[in-house]
């Protein structure tokens, strides 16, 4: 049971990265490969606020949301907006993540920093397994986040506009949606989310400059398995990747953890190339 819980917690972290990817994908039809780096910065802000300055966690979360939201806004203006060809965004967002990692290295160095969790860092027994409180919180938060974002996209004008943009950008513009402004704020929102979640991700992963690189690929795998654009897909993809990684490492060997994840990715993409939760769309030409 401990291994199952361990896998779920890791899957939740990957899913959080994938959610960030998804929001940008829905609004801009592109990927922000610096999303994991934004989460890394969120963890460092949480470290500074909680471990160094001793501030209350909720205040740290708010400050982190503002700071990382600002970083995301800057990234959008510098690395996204000026790029005409969407294919080049892979390079510019990757470049942004490298800059963020470099800045983190310069400020905090290469050593990992522990971020205390506000509900305690002691292991607790749960359903026959042993788990850290932050891991339970991560799983709960990712589920709530997916439910909230799904409902928001269905029930609010902003959400419907975003879905409209993702379906057909030009049609949305013709219907009066300011796509540039929506895309910008969606991008900023992913930064705000990364900052808010720093108080949860940091206690699980430590604040460490290499965190972005560790999360970026797995987050993308989660997205590919779940299906680009699907929020429920990120949840199921995170579950699959986290559990596969944990169970393979436990019962086959540590060297096979990544191999198993990518094997499952290939199998799923062969059976359903659009991912588990995204339907194939046909276009009349």
């Amino acid at each position: 049971m401990t291994i199952i819980m361990s896998g779920l917690a890791i899957g939740a972290v990957y899913a959080l990265v994938a959610i960030g990817y998804n929001i940008v994908f829905l609004s801009q039809k592109t990927f922000n490969f610096a999303q994991a780096a934004l989460m890394m910065l969120g963890a460092f802000v949480a470290y500074m606020g909680i471990a160094v300055l001793g501030l209350p966690w909720w205040l740290v979360a708010i400050v982190a949301a503002i700071v990382i939201g600002g970083v995301a806004a800057l990234e959008e203006v510098v690395a996204i907006r000026p790029v005409k060809d969407h294919h080049n965004l892979l390079v510019t967002t990757l470049g942004a993540s490298i800059i963020m990692e470099g800045v983190a290295q310069l400020i905090w160095g290469g050593e990992p920093r522990r971020v205390p969790f506000f509900l305690g860092d002691g292991v607790i027994d749960l359903a026959g397994g042993r788990v850290y409180p932050v891991e339970i919180a991560l799983v709960i938060v990712v589920v709530l986040l997916v439910v909230a974002l799904t409902q928001y996209s269905k029930r609010s004008m902003t959400g419907i506009a975003l879905l409209g943009m993702s379906e057909d950008r030009e049609a949305a513009m013709l219907r009066g949606v300011n796509v540039r402004r929506f895309a910008f704020w969606a991008f900023v929102f992913t930064g705000v989310l990364a900052g808010l979640l720093g108080v949860l991700v940091g206690p699980k992963t430590y604040a460490v400059a290499t965190l972005g690189a560790a999360l970026a690929i797995k987050g993308f795998v989660v997205l590919a398995i779940g299906g680009f654009g699907s929020m429920w897909g990120t949840l199921v993809g995170g579950l699959i990747v986290g559990l596969t990684e944990a169970l393979a490492a436990r019962y086959i060997g540590g060297d096979f953890a990544n191999l198993s994840v990518f094997f499952i990715l290939i199998v799923i993409l062969m059976l359903k190339p659009t991912g588990l939760f995204t339907r194939r769309t046909e276009r009349a030409v």
Partner: protein
């Protein structure tokens, strides 16, 4: 099979280095031609002090150690009555930069008598063939497959202990503690993989039972599955290779499993700041490190009775910053070895005589080195042969001036 692969890789690297050295061939210039036979003795230390993160910390410590080494030798009256001066070159831990700066240096009027390298091994791999070609005595703390081989690098001496030395110390300590069943957990870095394969071989040859061996991806965020797998084999002790955040994840995993197992960490563990930092930023003093002991050199553990080591640390603190543990301070011993060798050979200019003198057991003892007490270089190997007595296994503590308190 893994052993064969490791050997094959080493052989390939050796052949590559030989080929590079051969290609580089051409003119060989005696230091007598350029390096001054009068005036101060010139020493140059290369280090990646402008590199990112931990590499910069390690290089800074290494460069500081070299500067303190020169200060120590000058306090003793210099070498053969001549003052020693040191220049620092920032290679940013980039082999291309290092080679460019080294070529510039060799073409200048200020050729060094001695060059010290602060690692990493990629930089050493690029520099040592040039230093060999230029017939310059060098010391290196980033060993490569050929850096300690006198047939390839006759004027280079590695200062960092070899993996077999580290493992010899582990074997000795395992025996002393009476353990029989050993579990091994290692990372996926080149060193981690080498550590994993060699520990299995060495421990098995020494009569220990390997109850289990597991690797983990250095990008993993949770090692609980591997640990639970090892726990199921019921070992007496867990031998651990981990550095940085992965060490934190391993300690979290052990705590999560409630596994009460003695942990013996390698020098990668002792080089991680997390275990030397008190909460809330680190884990020093917490239950996570309750069962942890880690491998260090004797000099890395503060001992009030070790007067000469403490003086060396004071010199280093005066010379610059010590940003990592003293395991990166081998360069302090470099100039002490040169002084003893030059005084035995009666010259600082004859690199062949210096290299030969450094093989002399009496010279090595006379050097009175402090980071490692006796290097035991031989005609077949310019790599230290560090005895288990030079190592300690200690619990984590605060790190002050590179020493665990």
């Amino acid at each position: 099979m893994q052993r064969i692969r490791v050997k094959a890789a080493f052989a390939a690297l050796a052949v590559s280095a030989l080929a590079l050295a051969g290609c580089a061939g051409g003119d060989t210039t005696s230091p007598d031609d350029n390096a001054s036979s009068e005036g101060p003795i010139r020493v140059v230390v290369f280090g990646g002090i402008g590199a990112e993160g931990i590499l910069a910390n390690n290089a800074t410590t290494s460069v500081t150690a070299a500067q303190a080494s020169v200060a120590a030798v000058n306090e003793m009256g210099g070498i053969l009555g001549r003052e020693v001066v040191i220049d620092v070159i920032d290679d940013t831990a980039d082999p291309t930069v290092a080679v460019t700066r080294l070529r510039e240096l060799m073409a200048s009027d200020e050729r060094p008598h001695v060059v010290m390298n602060s690692g990493p091994s990629t930089v050493a791999d690029a520099m040592i063939p040039i230093l060999t070609q230029e017939r310059v005595l060098s010391f290196n703390i980033g060993p490569t497959p050929t850096s300690g081989d006198p047939s390839v690098s006759p004027y280079n001496f590695d200062l960092s202990a070899s993996v077999p030395d580290y493992l010899g110390s582990f074997t000795y300590e395992l025996g002393e503690r009476g353990y029989e069943n050993v579990a091994i957990l290692h990372g996926s870095s080149a060193y981690g993989e080498l550590f994993g394969s060699l520990t299995q071989e060495t421990f098995a040859e020494a009569g220990f039972t390997i109850s289990g061996a597991q690797g983990y991806d250095n990008a993993s965020l949770d090692m609980t599955p591997q640990l639970e797998s090892l726990q199921a084999t019921n070992p007496d002790v867990l031998v651990l290779d981990a550095y940085g955040a992965p060490l934190g994840y391993v300690l979290q995993g052990i705590e999560r499993l409630g596994w009460d197992i003695p942990i013996m960490g390698n020098t990668s563990v002792s080089a991680t700041g997390l275990i030397a930092t008190e909460p809330p930023s680190g884990v020093l003093g917490t239950d996570q490190v309750r069962n942890l002991t880690m491998q260090v050199f004797k000099s890395t553990k503060f001992d009030p009775a070790a007067t000469e080591v403490n003086e060396a640390v004071e010199r280093m603190a005066a010379a610059g910053d010590i940003l990592s543990s003293l395991i990166l301070a081998y360069n302090y011993d470099g100039m002490l070895l040169v002084k003893a060798a030059a005084e035995s050979a009666g010259s600082i200019d004859d690199v062949d005589a210096l290299a030969a003198a450094l093989l002399d057991e009496e010279v090595q003892q006379a050097a009175n080195t402090q980071m490692i007490s006796w290097y035991r270089f031989t005609a077949d190997s310019h790599t230290p042969h560090v005895a288990p007595e030079d190592f300690l296994f200690i619990g984590p503590g605060p790190l002050v001036n590179g020493q665990y308190q």
